[in-house]
C-alpha cells in the first residue's frame, strides 16, 4: 500500500533521513520506533508532503507521491495526525471535526460525525466547547477524531501517547486498534516502544536517520537490543 524506498531528507546541512526504506501493508499497523531526533516525524512529514526529500521514492497504491501537493495526498486518503495534537485551539470541538472533513464533499460526513462520537463519547458531550480548553487526553482524542473525519485509508499517527497519563494512553491505544480493525492501515510513530509493539504487526527502529532494525513486532519484543534500549531491561 505504502512503499518508501531509499528516502533521504536534509534540513539545510543536517541529514535527517539517510536512505530509509519501509512498507505498510493494507490493514496493518506498522510502528516506527526510535529516540528523539532519529527521524521518525521527518518520515511522516515526507509522506504528507510537508518536506521535500532529496532522494528516494514514496509510492502509495502504486503511484508516486513526490509530484503531488499536500492537499492531493489528503484526497488520496493519507491523513497525518501530527505530533503535539495540533488541534485548532480557537475552534469548537465540532469545528475541528468539520475541518477534518475539509476535502470531502460526500453525503457521509454527517454519519462520520456519529462514528467519531462512538469512538470518543467524551467529544460528543463537549462538541460545542472551545478545543483549547480540553484536557490533553481529550485533545489527543479530538486530533484522532479529526483525522478520522477525512476517511483515511492510511493514518499517520505521530506520538499519540505524548504527555498523557497511563490509563488514557491505554484507552487511546485501544481505540487505535479498533480503528485498524475497521480497515484503516496505520503507521504509528512512538517513543513508547512497549505499547507500540503490543498493538503493531511490524516495526522499524530508526537511529540517526537510518533503519537499524526491523521485523515483526513479536520478534522485536524478544530482541535483546530492543529490550536493552527501549523496554527497560
Amino acid at each position: 500500500m505504502l512503499a518508501i524506498e531509499n528516502l533521504s531528507v536534509h534540513y539545510g546541512y543536517v541529514h535527517a533521513l539517510r536512505g530509509v526504506s519501509l512498507r505498510v501493508k493494507p490493514g496493518s499497523i506498522v510502528a516506527l520506533l526510535g529516540a528523539n531526533g532519529a527521524g521518525k516525524s521527518t518520515t511522516l512529514r515526507a509522506i504528507s508532503r510537508q518536506v521535500q526529500p532529496k532522494e528516494g521514492a514514496i509510492q502509495f497504491a502504486g503511484e508516486s507521491l513526490l509530484q503531488q501537493s499536500a492537499s492531493d495526498v489528503v484526497k488520496k486518503g493519507i491523513i497525518h495526525c501530527p505530533e503535539n495534537r495540533r488541534i485548532f485551539p480557537k475552534f469548537t470541538v465540532e469545528e475541528n471535526l468539520q475541518i477534518g472533513a475539509y476535502t470531502r464533499r460526500d453525503e457521509m460526513v454527517k454519519a462520520d460525525f456519529e462514528k467519531v462520537f462512538r469512538y470518543f463519547p467524551r467529544l460528543k458531550e463537549r462538541r460545542s466547547q472551545i478545543a483549547g480548553t480540553l484536557s490533553g487526553g481529550e485533545q489527543q482524542m479530538l486530533a484522532i477524531g479529526r483525522s478520522l473525519m477525512a476517511k483515511p485509508q492510511l493514518l499517520l499517527l505521530d506520538e499519540p501517547s505524548l504527555g498523557l497519563a497511563p490509563n488514557i494512553v491505554r484507552d487511546i491505544f485501544g481505540i487505535i486498534k479498533q480503528i485498524n480493525d475497521e480497515g484503516t492501515a496505520i503507521l504509528l510513530v512512538e517513543q513508547n516502544a512497549h505499547k507500540a509493539l503490543e498493538i503493531s504487526d511490524y516495526a522499524y527502529v530508526l537511529e540517526n536517520g537510518r533503519i537499524e532494525l526491523e521485523g515483526s513486532s513479536d520478534q522485536l519484543k524478544q530482541s535483546e537490543q530492543i529490550k536493552r534500549l527501549y523496554l527497560g531491561g
Binding site: 485548532f88 475552534f91 475541518i99
Partner: protein, 289 residues
C-alpha cells in the same frame, strides 16, 4: 446637536471599520500587515471614477466593476508579489507592502496628477429628519452598504467552508495543510476580500475627502488605529474600533477643535491602550508551549 454629531460620527466610523476589517483580515490570516491597503483602495476609487466619468456608467455599475477590479488587484498582488516571499521573514514582507504603497501612490500620481477632484455621492438629495437628527440619503447608503458588507462577510467567515478554512489557516498554517487546505489559495482569497473591503471604504469616503493619490493617507492611519483599538486580530473589534474613532473624531471636531481632532483621537487611543494593552477586543498573547 450631540445626537447629530454622534450620528455623523457613526457613518464615517463605518467606513473606518470597513477599512480596518480589510487590514485585520489579511493580518489575521497571513500575519502580514498590509501597509499598501489604503493605496489599493485609492487605486480602486480611481478606477470607479474613470468608469463613472469617462465611460458614463451609472454609479452602481461603476461601484461593482471597481470592486471586481479590487478583487483582481488583491489576487494579483498576492500571487505575484507576496507569494514568492511567503517564506521570508515577516519584517521583509512588511517592507514589501511599504514598497507597494509607494509604487502605487507614485504611479497614480504620474497618471492622474495630484489635483483633487470631486467624487459623486451615491445618492444625492435633501437630508431627512429623524427626530432631532438630520441624515443625508448618502449617509443612509453608507450605513446600509457597510452593514450589509459586514453581514455578508460575517456569514462567509463563520458559516462557509472557505470561511472555516480561512479561520483555520489563521490559527495554524501547517496543520491546515495537513487537513488538505490549500493555504496559498486561502491567502489569495484573503487578499482579494481585503482589497474589496478597502475599495468600498475608498469609494464611500471619496465624496468627503475628494479624489487624489493622497486621499487615503489619513483614512489609512485611522483604519490602523481602529484595528489596534479593536485588538488587531478581532473582526468585530475592527468594526467597533472604527465606530469609536468615527464618533470620537466628530465629537472633538465639534466641541474642541477641528484641527485637533487627529491628535486627540490618538491621545485617547493611547489612554485606552494604557488600560487595555491588547485593545478592546484583543486577547493577551500568552501561549502554552
Amino acid at each position: 446637536m450631540l445626537l447629530q454629531t454622534i450620528a455623523s460620527g457613526l457613518t464615517i466610523g463605518c467606513i473606518y471599520g470597513l477599512a480596518a476589517l480589510g487590514l485585520v483580515l489579511i493580518y489575521k490570516t497571513t500575519d502580514v500587515v498590509n501597509f499598501a491597503q489604503g493605496e489599493m483602495a485609492m487605486l480602486t476609487t480611481f478606477v470607479s471614477y474613470i468608469l463613472l466619468q469617462r465611460y458614463g456608467l451609472p454609479y452602481y455599475a461603476a461601484f461593482l466593476l471597481a470592486l471586481l477590479f479590487a478583487a483582481v488587484l488583491g489576487t494579483v498582488i498576492q500571487r505575484f508579489i507576496m507569494k514568492p516571499v511567503q517564506r521570508a521573514p515577516l519584517l521583509n514582507q512588511l517592507v514589501l507592502t511599504l514598497a507597494l504603497y509607494m509604487v502605487i501612490r507614485g504611479v497614480a500620481g504620474i497618471i492622474w496628477g495630484y489635483v483633487p477632484v470631486g467624487y459623486p455621492e451615491a445618492i444625492s438629495g435633501e437630508p431627512l429628519q429623524l427626530g432631532q437628527v438630520y441624515i443625508k440619503p448618502n449617509e443612509i447608503f453608507v450605513l446600509c452598504v457597510s452593514l450589509l458588507l459586514m453581514g455578508v462577510f460575517y456569514v462567509l467567515f463563520q458559516y462557509t467552508r472557505t470561511g472555516l478554512a480561512m479561520r483555520a489557516a489563521a490559527q495554524d498554517m501547517q496543520t491546515s495543510e495537513l487537513m488538505g487546505i490549500k493555504v496559498t489559495g486561502i491567502f489569495t482569497w484573503t487578499w482579494a476580500i481585503g482589497a474589496v473591503l478597502g475599495g468600498v471604504a475608498g469609494m464611500l469616503i471619496a465624496p468627503i475627502t475628494f479624489l487624489d493619490p493622497n486621499m487615503m493617507q489619513e483614512i489609512a492611519i485611522l483604519a490602523f488605529a481602529a484595528a489596534v483599538l479593536g485588538g488587531f486580530v478581532s473582526l468585530p473589534g475592527a468594526v467597533a474600533g472604527g465606530l469609536c474613532i468615527g464618533v470620537l473624531e466628530n465629537l472633538i471636531a465639534t466641541y474642541v477643535s477641528a484641527e485637533l481632532k487627529a491628535p486627540f483621537v490618538f491621545l485617547l487611543i493611547v489612554l485606552i491602550l494604557y488600560v487595555r494593552p491588547n485593545g478592546l477586543f484583543g486577547v493577551s498573547q500568552a501561549r502554552k508551549v
